[in-house]
């Protein structure tokens, strides 16, 4: 996922125009915009509505229905912690408490340095080797508290490199 990329009304329209011919184009369009920019900007709602001949309320309704779509910019990395039963059975409750405490944020929040956003997820399908988390598009299994700290640290470093 590219996060924080510059966007303009034209760049969003380009994405919409490339997909609007598809039957049921709404979700593909929302995914493509969020993949490109990291979230769905408010301005895009009107553009999508107009292009798909729907009301802005309908577009907003779809965006707000799905947990995956977000309307505010995420941090550089999104960490999702699996809260579902198979991970509960191997200690995800203490992992999520640890994550919130060490990052200093709750679910649906972003750290002050914009490095991490924290989200819950209900199953990553990695249920035989939990607790599982996802950082951007990488899934990690058997995540102990120490392993979590290591993973966070390795994703902190790239911020220093960038500057």
């Amino acid at each position: 996922m590219t996060v924080g990329k510059e966007w303009t009304e034209q760049s969003i329209q380009l994405i919409i125009d490339g997909l609007k011919h598809k039957p049921g184009a709404m979700l593909p369009i929302l995914h493509a915009i969020q993949n490109e920019i990291g979230y769905i900007p408010e301005k895009a709602v009107a553009q999508i509505a107009e292009s798909l001949l729907q009301t802005r309320a309908e577009v907003h309704g779809v965006i707000s229905f799905y947990h995956h779509f977000r309307t505010t910019p995420p941090g550089k990395h999104t960490i999702e912690i699996c809260r579902a039963e198979a991970c509960q059975a191997v200690g995800c409750r203490s992992l999520e408490a640890h994550a919130k405490q060490s990052l200093g944020i709750d679910y649906h929040q972003t750290t002050a340095n914009r490095q991490f956003s924290l989200e819950p997820v209900y199953c990553l399908g990695n249920c035989a080797t939990g607790p599982s988390i996802r950082i951007d598009d990488d899934i990690h299994g058997r995540v102990s508290l120490e392993r979590f700290d290591e993973l966070v640290a390795s994703h902190q470093q790239d911020m220093k490199e960038v500057g």
């Binding site: 039957p23 049921g24 184009a25 709404m26 979700l27 593909p28 929302l30 995914h31 798909l52 309908e58 309704g61 779809v62 229905f65 799905y66 947990h67 995956h68 779509f69 579902a84 039963e85 198979a86 991970c87 509960q88 059975a89 191997v90 997820v121 209900y122 199953c123 990553l124 399908g125 990695n126 249920c127 035989a128 080797t129 939990g130 599982s132 996802r134 598009d137 990488d138 899934i139 990690h140 299994g141 058997r142």
Partner: protein
């Protein structure tokens, strides 16, 4: 010929460092100047052993389990490429491993053996035989073969697949659709994921056969966004299938058309419910539709639509290759064929176990699972996902069979088995069931939308000892209302785990009663 070293590329192997491992092995090959090639295969389903490295030897493929990048140099020194079995990571010949040897793999026959997106590998192990047979048959004969197999929907509802296909075949329309439900949201299940990551061409073949059977020319795989690896591999497999003429406007020169596209969900559990899934595919909020009309008659974009789970479609190539009767020869009672079960949670040997129906839950958890990961006594097991009952030891002799499970108030669902050791707080598990429904309810019907919120509150009161007896009665009543009054299985089954805790572990929900 260059020696082959296999390193799986499925989510679990990757989540435990398979890519870093492959890099380290490649480096070692180069440094030592060896003639060896890395193949990224699928997973065998022995997930506790991931990443499981296999090397080709004269005796067969020798495996090394749970290998880390740091161990590579040492393993090469210890003669890994010669298949030296002295090393502690070595599990011997992979095919002889008891976890695999005791299984009856029909759907997962190729998983872990092949490169998932290689059409050559797929064909070498019976791939596309079913499709070739189907092309030469009349649609009605294909549907009859599926009926003979006794296959029932593997998503959880267990509706006979052949009958569903018959309805779509019998409903006239210019445009019909094949929709694969790959929104595998139940915690403890990953069999769909393994099919899509380890043998995606089998799913493509199964859906294409379905298209031929009911005159549908367009298929969609509705895949959950939580599966990025499956997404990548499916798209790759579809692209290759198009190039090789297994998809498109002229399948294998038959003049018959079938197109296939993957569509991503967006993190809504409810979209695993078939009518909600169809609304989502149409680009709307994933609200559940009232039935009737059935999707087989009024489905995607109002057209007749086959909606089946990944595992249902994945069973079809075998059925069309070896015949429906050969599939039906496995199983018990009205549960025919095999069920891919998934051992998850607090389990020592977690993974995929495909067996004919009939094994007991206890055998599955002990003989295959090897007990709990922590080594502490097993206390409860939740079968069939977040809407399935928690079963105590007294129920573990129940055979894996749709009707036997229903008889004890449990569901087999999608075959996920989540094990919990003695440290689990069952009151907290009951609360989570309601909390999950509160987060994931589509909101269309009142018992589910409001019932789940009230359910969390009432359970909190019981756990806090506030009017525990009165609130207990209220919770019983609320559960009954949700079961009887909800539009779909989400609200209708959320009470099952709660009621099972009330029945089997009452003291843990309310110490103060």
């Amino acid at each position: 010929m260059s020696q082959r070293i296999y390193i799986p590329c499925d989510t679990t192997a990757l989540s435990l460092g398979a890519d870093q491992l492959a890099e380290a092995i490649q480096q070692e090959i180069t440094q030592r100047g060896l003639d060896a090639t890395i193949v990224r295969n699928g997973s065998r389903g022995m997930l506790w052993l991931e990443p499981l490295v296999e090397v080709d030897t004269a005796q067969g493929r020798v495996g090394y389990g749970a290998v880390s990048a740091q161990q590579v140099s040492e393993l090469f020194d210890a003669g890994m490429l010669e298949g030296n079995q002295q090393h502690e990571s070595c599990i011997g010949l992979v095919e002889d491993h008891p976890f695999l040897k005791k299984q009856q793999r029909l759907t997962f026959a190729r998983s872990g053996i092949t490169d998932p997106v290689s059409i050559e590998d797929y064909i070498a192990l019976d791939g596309f035989n079913g499709l070739k047979n189907a092309i030469a048959m009349q649609p009605q004969n294909i549907v009859d073969e599926v009926k003979t197999s006794g296959l029932r929907g593997r998503g959880g509802a267990a509706f006979p697949t052949g009958i569903k296909w018959q309805t779509v075949l019998d409903t006239p329309s210019e445009q019909k659709y094949i929709v694969c439900n790959a929104d595998e949201g139940d915690s403890g299940t990953f069999a769909d994921r393994l099919v899509m990551e380890c043998d995606p061409l089998m799913l493509i073949e199964g859906m294409t056969i379905a298209g031929l059977a009911v005159h549908a020319t367009q298929g969609y795989i509705y895949l959950r966004s939580e599966y990025p690896v499956a997404h990548k591999l499916l798209n790759e497999a579809i692209e290759r299938a198009y190039k090789a003429g297994y998809l498109g406007e002229d399948i294998l020169g038959s003049g018959k058309r079938f197109d296939l596209e993957v569509r991503l969900g967006a993190g809504a559990y409810i979209c695993g419910e078939e009518t909600s899934l169809l609304d989502s595919l149409e680009g709307k909020r994933g609200l559940v539709r009232a039935k009737p009309p059935l999707p087989a008659i009024v489905g995607l974009f109002g057209q007749p639509t086959v909606v089946n789970n990944v595992l249902s479609f994945a069973a079809v190539p075998y059925i069309m290759d070896k015949g429906g009767q050969s599939y039906a020869d496995y199983g018990m009672g009205r549960s025919r064929g095999t069920l891919p079960l998934q051992l998850a949670g607090n389990v020592k040997q977690g993974g995929l176990v495909e067996l004919a129906f009939g094994i007991s839950l206890r055998e599955l958890m002990e003989d295959f699972g090897g007990g709990t990961l922590t080594g502490k006594p097993l206390k409860a097991v939740q079968v069939g996902g977040p809407l399935g009952a928690y079963l105590p030891a007294s129920q573990w002799d129940t055979p894996v069979d749709y009707e036997e499970f229903a008889a004890v108030g449990a569901v087999l669902g999608h075959g996920g088995v989540v094990m919990f050791d003695e440290t689990v707080d069952m009151g907290e598990q009951a609360r989570f069931s309601m909390e999950f429904c509160k987060v994931e309810s589509c909101g269309k019907c009142t018992p589910c939308r409001i019932g789940s919120t009230r359910g969390v509150e009432v359970i909190d009161r019981i756990r806090n000892g506030e009017n525990a007896n009165a609130n207990w009665v209220l919770l019983e009543d609320l559960c009954e209302t949700m079961v009887d009054g909800s539009l779909c299985a989400m609200g209708g089954m959320t009470p099952f785990p709660v009621q099972s805790v009330m029945k089997y572990f009452p003291e843990e929900l309310s110490a103060s009663r």
